[in-house]
């Protein structure tokens, strides 16, 4: 068994986009609106060093946390066989290892912002900036929430001028699809040298080969 190569068969390209944002910002709603399947839920058990480590006894107290994340998919036969996955990041907290696993090889990210709690988007914005993953801000226009101009949102989130900000209704498939389209257009216009900053990450080209990393 040792050293044996895995058999491979031809399949569709596997692509993914990460959907992040604060608690209740509409991540699952947006994923469900464009996905061809009802959003599925997967879990990851994370081991984290807990606070108050028992140094005296030389043991590190570990706690395990189960976090769940939603995802959906869109399958295309034309113009290429492709499956596009939309992964929602779990919770408020930034679980590094999990976010890294979700983000590695992603085309880009959508940060959903709820204008009633704009600061909830900071975590996601900081994370994607630090990883050099292209993203845009989709302002989910909840009923009755005050409508801010994109300029005001940009200022409040202290965004780089090139980061797109657009309104959306996460419940509407067309609106959600428009967000994805805008993101891809943004990726196309993004300077490719800026993307190579992600040292440990696959190049944009190899992100399409996610199925077969040796």
């Amino acid at each position: 068994m040792g050293g044996q190569e895995a058999r491979t068969v031809a399949g569709p390209a596997s692509l993914k986009i990460v959907v992040a944002g604060g608690f209740g910002a509409g991540k699952t709603t947006l994923i469900g609106a464009v996905s061809e399947i009802k959003p599925l839920r997967t879990e990851e058990v994370l081991t984290t060093a807990s606070t108050g480590v028992d140094h005296l006894h030389g043991v590190e107290a570990k706690t395990t946390t189960t976090v769940s994340m939603d995802f959906g998919r869109i399958t295309f036969d034309e113009p290429l066989p492709m499956v596009l996955f939309l992964f929602g990041t779990p919770g408020q907290e930034r679980f590094e290892s999990l976010w890294d696993d979700l983000t590695l090889g992603a085309l880009g990210a959508v940060v959903l912002a709820d204008t009633r709690r704009l600061s909830d988007s900071f975590t996601a914005v900081d994370y994607f900036e630090s990883r050099g993953l292209p993203f845009l801000i989709a302002v989910n226009e909840f009923d009755g929430a005050h409508r801010y101009s994109t300029t005001a949102v940009r200022a409040a989130l202290d965004l780089d001028p090139h980061v797109p900000v657009m309104p959306c209704d996460a419940r509407q498939g067309q609106s959600a699809a428009q967000v994805l389209i805008r993101l891809i257009e943004h990726l196309q216009s993004t300077d490719h040298t800026a993307r190579t900053v992600r040292s440990d990450q696959p190049t944009p080209a190899s992100s399409a080969t996610a199925g077969v990393q040796p």
Binding site: M1, Q4, A6, R7, T8, V9, A10, G11, P12, A13, S14, L15, K16, L40, R41, T42, E43, E44, V45, T66, F71, R73, I74, F76, E78, P79, L80, P81, M82, V83, L84, F85, F87, D101, L102, L104, G105, L107, G173, Q174, A177, Q178, L180, I181, I184, E185, L187, Q188, T203, P204, A205, S206, S207, A208, T209, A210, G211, V212, Q213, P214
Partner: protein, 118 residues
């Protein structure tokens, strides 16, 4: 009565890792979006393995196998990796044209626009 309850509580925690025969790291580097397809027939398999094999009669992602089997991602990766070693699941390779980033972006755009009439 009480011991029974304790046992079943323990089992639900430990059982997924029992499925992986104590291994915690998959041999093949799998990502949540890696796609697998049913390979050669495999006679000796656990129920979870059979479920994974059956699910992959069309290409399915590790995440989807995890969600369907209701097993954590990490556990699913170990099981899937093992099935790949045994030839029961095959890793998929994307079409040549999809190795090229600008072409993929164009394809996704075109796909989304057609699907949503945008």
């Amino acid at each position: 009565m009480r011991t029974l309850m304790v046992r079943s509580a323990l089992e639900t925690r430990v059982r997924p890792y029992g499925l992986t025969r104590g291994r915690t790291a998959p041999k093949h580097r799998l990502r949540p979006e890696s796609l697998l397809q049913t390979g050669a027939p495999c006679d000796q398999s656990a129920p979870e393995e059979r479920a994974a094999i059956e699910l992959c009669n069309r290409p399915r992602s590790v995440a989807e196998i995890s969600a369907t089997l209701q097993l954590p991602l990490q556990v699913t990766k170990v099981i899937v990796s093992d099935l790949v070693d045994r030839g029961a699941l095959d890793l998929t390779v994307p079409p040549e044209a999809a190795q090229n980033s600008p072409q993929v972006m164009e394809a996704v755009l075109a796909g989304l626009r057609t699907k949503w009439k945008l």
